[in-house]
């Protein structure tokens, strides 16, 4: 009763928004497109048409097109967020601040590679009406150290200052990026406790799946690409998932095959990725497979927990996955990658 009255309007908004997700038919049409131009024409027939006003299909660059369609995220987020009860808005804001974190990392990378603002700004995720960090000024400041000082009052400052000494010693952004990610997801996990019971129960399975996916993929990636030791990997993961605990992380860190580990903890995913491929490629495919699993958990909440925070969270994640698919499609079409090479990396294949 309390959930229904608090989440009534938000539920309607989420249901309407969910009905606007791209359908399987639109996905099929997008996949059959030959180039960026035809993708634009196809998107102009969809709900994304409003973001493509003034775009010339002949001349638009993939980067600009991606930036345009990404504007849907803050727009939809604002609609849903404003209709949530106040007690849940902080949590959903925290989820949306993931985009700010992505932008922060992009800006730091840009500064590190001496990129100029005009190049970097198109790589940022649009934040719509939401106040964000002074990225332009950070880039103008010219150095990572100055950029950190410019955001002294932000929630990232302590984390950045903690990782700064390692950045100065090692001259790589790796320690900064890792700590930003760890602190963010730890914060999300901790904040679940501050939600009302009904929301905690509804939201925790989704966040758990995300953290478990992150831990598995991070552990495998740090071992395979960075050759880190077991103890380092433990420090660079969270280990708070239900199924992906420290023992699992240690197994991955010691070199146990990801397919084997995932098969043991998620039996329904056994054999989803062929072991004939290289380990690096398998890792990417497992990441997609685990993300699909998150999308499945999200989908189930629409009917299982309709009057809670979960549908809003689930919708925001599913929309993000749709955008990720569109980005993949646009980039694949622009660079002439054949459909059999990119299709395995699509998270969804449309709704309805």
């Amino acid at each position: 009763m309390a959930g229904a009255s608090s989440y009534g309007v938000a539920n309607v908004k989420v249901r309407v928004s969910k009905a606007q997700l791209l359908t399987s038919a639109t996905y099929a049409k997008l996949i059959s497109c030959h180039d960026t131009r035809s993708i634009v024409l196809q998107l102009q027939e969809s709900i994304y048409s409003k973001y493509l006003v003034g775009i010339d299909p002949q001349t638009v660059t993939p980067r600009k097109l991606i930036w345009k369609i990404r504007q849907r995220v803050p727009e939809k987020f604002e609609i849903i967020r404003d209709n949530l009860p106040q007690r849940s808005q902080y949590f959903i804001d925290l989820i949306f601040s993931w985009y700010e974190l992505i932008n922060l990392k992009t800006v730091l990378r840009g500064i590190n590679f001496s990129g100029d603002w005009n190049t970097i700004k198109h790589l940022l995720v649009p934040m719509g009406k939401f106040k964000t960090l002074p990225f332009e000024l950070m880039v103008a400041s010219g150095s990572i150290d100055n950029a950190i000082l410019m955001i002294k009052d932000s929630k990232y400052y302590t984390t950045l200052m903690t990782a700064r000494h390692r950045f100065l010693l090692e001259e790589t952004l790796f320690p900064i990026e890792v700590l930003l990610d760890l602190e963010y997801w730890q914060k999300v996990w901790d904040e679940i406790e501050n939600l009302p019971d009904i929301d905690q129960k509804a939201v925790r399975p989704i966040i758990t799946r995300i953290i478990e996916r992150n831990d598995l993929i991070w552990a495998a990636r740090y071992r395979f690409f960075y050759h880190l030791t077991e103890s380092e990997i433990i420090n660079y993961t969270l280990g708070i998932g239900t199924k992906v605990n420290d023992s699992i992380i240690r197994q991955v860190a010691q070199g146990k095959r990801l397919a084997e580990v995932i098969g043991e903890i998620y039996p329904n995913l056994t054999g989803k990725v062929s072991s004939a491929q290289g380990e690096g490629q398998q890792l990417s495919l497992w990441e997609i497979e685990l993300t699909r699993e998150i999308a499945r958990v999200c989908s189930s909440t629409f009917s299982a927990q309709p009057f809670s925070l979960a549908p809003a969270l689930a919708y925001i994640l599913i929309l993000e996955y749709e955008i990720q698919d569109l980005v993949l499609l646009i980039e694949a079409k622009a660079s002439g990658v054949t459909s059999e090479n990119y299709q395995p990396y699509l998270i969804n294949q449309g709704y309805n």
Binding site: Q44, K50, W117, L137, H165, R166, E232, T237
Partner: protein, 651 residues
Amino acid sequence: MPLFKPEKMVRVEIDFPRRYIYEVTKIIAQIGYFQPEDISTIDNRKDPSEDGDLFETGSKLSGLKADLTTTMTKLDIPISDDVPGDLEMIENPDKVNNRLEIIKDEVHRLSLETEEIRKRIEEKQGALTLLQPFKDLEYDLSALRNRRYLYSILGIMPTNRIDRFRESLSQIPYVLLEEQQSNKKTQVLLLGPRNQRDFMILTARSAYVEALDIPDDAKGSLPEIIKSNELELEQLNENLALLEQQKIALQTKNASRLKKWYSQVQYSSKLYDIISYYGHLRHSFLVAGWVPAKKQDEFLDLLSNISPDVLETVKSENELDVNTTPPVALEFPKQLRGFHKLVTIYSTPWYKEIDPTLLVTFTFPLLFGAMFGDLGQGAVLAVAGLLLSSRKVKKLIGLANFGWVLTACGVASMIFGVLYGSVFGFEEVFDPIWISPLHDIMRLLITTLAAGAILLTLADILAIVNLVIRKDWVGMIFSGKGIAGLLLYWALIGFILSMVLPAFPIPKLVLIILIIVCVLMMMSAEFLDHLFHDKRPLFKGGFLLYFITAFFELFEIFISYLSNSLSYVRVGAFAVAHAGLSQVVMILAEMVSPVHGAGYWVVIVLGNLFIIGFEGMIVSIQTLRLEYYEFFSKFFRGGGIRYQPLHISDK
């Protein structure tokens, strides 16, 4: 004020020589009703670098803004993003920049010195913080550094990473001493076997332990080192205070000048942002955007006052190509804003269609009232709505627009309460003017079914009107959303009625022929559309595929007619449920106090509150469902773009 159709918009294209760029841009920025389009992809210049100075000025302004921000931040001068409209545009940022350089250099020097001292203070404080817990130990540092079997790391680390650090060390024997400094930082002393030195260093580093860097020449016991650090810290703090005084003097001298420059730069940057939307023709610039048709003359007058060389092309909606859709400007009196919000939750209306807000204003309360008919409960809702719309309840001020929706629903509920003879659930206070839901269920259900058919017909008519607005003549006559669809719907209703009512005036044969004709019209709609609009192939995917697709589409239309019509039965069903629920409250009240004492009235009041809150919400959701899925889906396309004109003082 257009209530059914969005305000008429015209697309204006302005072609002007480079020398008028600032005048044109200022007008566009200041009028407050121009919505520009990004046409920067149009570039027909012979040499794309010929307007380089403009972009150079734009990027110089960005640099100037960054410098001003840095300087003002360093001097603790508050920065305001408000842009007054009466500012002059900076065409040559170098002039301001040269003057700023002098202040900047001074601030920079001061800031470097301050930063340096602060850094040293921070280091000293860090070292002292780490050493404080050991201040009572007469312990020689060299003893800690040079142990034969023991290796130690003294440092500070994030408090929330300690558990992971312990977990990562579990492979070796170790001792970890913690002293929490704050909820964010903890100082740690890690002791382990010297032969695990590399492991300990690597693991501590990955746990973000910032090891204490005590100079090698630091000699003596810990208390001695602490004492000397404290003395140095005192001296550094004195130096810092002197620098702070210099900063305040500099701030007092320059604050108003810097604030003025910042506003000017902010204003000019916005104008250069607008310029970045412009297209480039061979010898001129091109701006495109939307203005309300009623403002067209005023806008063109302003532009022509600049120079006869500023050329404007105005295209009304009839002259636009198919893919160009004007933005939608809709304005409603405050009483209708809540209803409009209900429409935009579904989608923003498209420019070339009827805005259903006014229809929703009637149908939403009508459906709600029919399901929730009660004079007393309706009055409560109406009063609650009025209270909400009065904006007197501060916590609910965001829902003020919905207050009028609630009031309208409450009034409709009161009217139906009179028709049903119900007040606060009492059915014996007065006789129903029309029907008692619990006593004449079938009649009520059949009436709501008929009312649903009328609403669906209204939706079909609106769909036809929308096709007329779009000038889709083939669709208007032949498609399922056109006349053929509407005729088929009524022919089917007629056929069912002729089966049930022997005295039905239209013969079955006529109705069957009408159904067949409509079906054929609808199946041929796409083919005719291709034929009249010269689209090829006539049968997309071949005739067989076309036929199969048309057949299944037809099947879907039949199903939707049936499901949409039956959906309206729920209106009657909810009216019955409402009356039933009220009866339950009455029975409970009787059980609590058969003599109608205080208990009886407490149950009546609580029961009514429960019905208003709980059932009111369910009925609202059902009404919304009927509006969205049964009504809107028939004629409303949505997907319009909101008219959001440019305004220079926008933050």
